[in-house]
């Protein structure tokens, strides 16, 4: 899976599960302050990412460090590389 595929799939999760318009999905967007997610949403974000990428991340400590969309892309990319 290349970087663009990770971005596309992640953005689709934000569009479909959190009803955020495509134009707002910029890498630097802060997922709490810019995109309006809260702590409950993060639980659902993790579940949707697990489903979309076929990975297990629910107990990953690094999930707590995620702030921006770019952080999500990087986090998934690292997990996928670790799994390869």
């Amino acid at each position: 899976m290349n970087e663009q595929e990770i971005i596309d799939i992640t953005n689709k999760v934000f569009e479909e599960s959190f009803e955020i318009e495509k134009e707002r999905l910029k890498p630097e967007a802060h997922i709490f302050t810019d995109l309006g997610l809260d702590s409950l949403d993060i639980v659902d974000l993790v579940a949707e990412l697990q489903k979309s990428f076929g990975v297990s991340i629910r107990n990953e400590e690094k999930v707590r460090d995620i702030r921006t969309l770019q952080d999500v892309y990087g986090f998934i990319s690292a997990i996928k590389k670790d799994n390869e």
Partner: protein, 408 residues
């Protein structure tokens, strides 16, 4: 004791969104009951009819407030919003700890509960459950979602008394305002259709099963050929307000609530009992200081079950005789269960406003065991100054409410 009036109405019913749609449906004399294709797929389910409400415009509710709402909570939020607007309440200037809501339902969202257990029992993976799922499943899901959506900070309570839930919510609201604990309360109920809901009545042979191919002919309250109830869904919300509070802001007043009573039969878990219904109605009339001959209209609970209709008719016959007009609205919109007390009370208030009593749909020939009551079989022009609303529920619960038109 303070006086309590009704100043706002909101409804999502099988006839559509809004009080106007409900009234239009009743006036047209049509049935909203239809055949439920997919229900035939459940082994042991004999009733394949229901009165669904349309879920629409739900995306007008912001996602973060909608995510914890199952179907019934969306209905409740939309009905509550209508009621607040109808009452002319500007929430931004009126929210306080003296304004809250009491909304009942039979259970939490039946669809969400079913989905949660399908995930838990078959997939055995809790991580697949959305974070907001539990908030849709809780017994008080409708009231918490309405309170959060509208930002209400007074009393937030749920009544859970199956088919008497909404009337108990209105009764509890009446008591809280009367006793100076609250000034304004949004009260009512909500319910949603699901095979498990109809199934809970089906297994005890309380549903209608002979009219699956002619759904508009059932349910048939008080009729000789009635064969059981038909489930419906939706929400009804009423704004209850302390009288002086309403007058001071020049609110439109639909009616004053003058009496409420509720009791248990202590007799049977599923069967109605005329003795305890009589006691409940007499207590309610006593609380209202109203004699039976002062009641102009009785909106019956009558769901179309053989036993329930017979017991209610016996109670009405005993207290009122044949002179007071009686009708049930279940033939139009089915039995909306935990919402029925509120939706049907709203319809009754509109009858009061229009001086028109809507008849019992599908009552073609009064059953011998339901005779001796003032059945309304066709639209009846009549001034309704005082009305009685009945609701009864599984568990032997009875509830009744008296409303009086305010004569200025």
């Amino acid at each position: 004791m303070r006086r309590v009036v009704i100043t706002g109405l909101g409804v999502i019913s099988p006839f559509g969104a809004g009080v106007g749609s409900l009234v239009n449906g009743l006036e047209s004399g049509r049935s909203a009951v239809c055949y439920m294709d997919e229900w035939a797929g459940y082994c042991g389910m004999n009733s394949h009819v229901a009165a669904p409400s349309e879920l629409k415009d739900e995306k007008k509710i912001p996602r973060q407030q909608r995510r914890s709402m199952g179907r019934m909570s969306i209905f409740a939020a939309q009905a509550a919003e209508q009621a607040v607007a109808d009452a002319g309440i500007d929430l931004s200037g009126m929210r306080s700890d003296r304004m809250g809501c009491i909304i009942g339902s039979t259970t939490g969202s039946a669809i969400s509960i079913s989905r949660a257990f399908e995930t838990m029992l078959f997939k055995k993976d809790l991580s697949l459950l959305p974070a907001s799922m539990f908030f849709q499943c809780m017994s008080h899901t409708a009231v918490i979602n309405v309170a959060q959506y509208l930002g209400l900070t007074g009393y937030v309570m749920a009544t859970s008394a199956a088919c008497a839930s909404a009337l108990q919510a209105v009764g509890a609201g009446y008591d809280l305002i009367r006793s100076d604990r609250q000034d304004i309360l949004l009260c009512g109920g909500a319910e949603e259709l699901h095979p498990s809901v109809t199934g809970s009545f089906d297994v005890v042979f309380a549903t209608s099963t002979k009219y699956n191919r002619t759904p508009d002919k059932t349910p048939r309250p008080f009729d000789r050929d009635r064969d059981g109830l038909v489930c419906g869904e939706g929400s009804g919300i009423l704004v209850l307000e302390e009288y002086e509070h309403a007058v001071n802001r020049n609110a439109r007043i639909y009616a004053e609530i003058t009496g409420y009573g509720t009791n248990g039969s202590g007799a049977h878990i599923s069967q109605s009992d005329s003795g305890s219904i009589i006691q409940c109605i007499k207590e309610t009339l006593g609380n209202a200081g109203t004699d039976p001959d002062e009641i102009d209209y009785i909106n019956a609970h009558a769901t179309g079950t053989e036993q329930g209709d017979r017991e209610e008719a016996a109670a009405i016959r005993e207290i009122f005789g044949p002179s007071v007009p009686v009708s049930s609205l279940k033939g139009y919109i089915g039995h909306t269960l935990g919402a029925s007390g509120a939706i049907e009370l709203i319809a009754s208030l509109m009858m009061m406003k229009k001086n028109m009593v809507y008849p019992t749909l599908n009552l073609d020939e009064v059953s011998p065991d339901c005779e001796g009551v003032g059945h309304v079989k066709r639209p009846l022009g009549k001034e309704v100054k005082t009305l009685l609303k009945n609701c009864f529920a599984f568990g032997g619960i009875n509830a009744a409410l008296v409303c009086k038109k305010l004569i200025s």
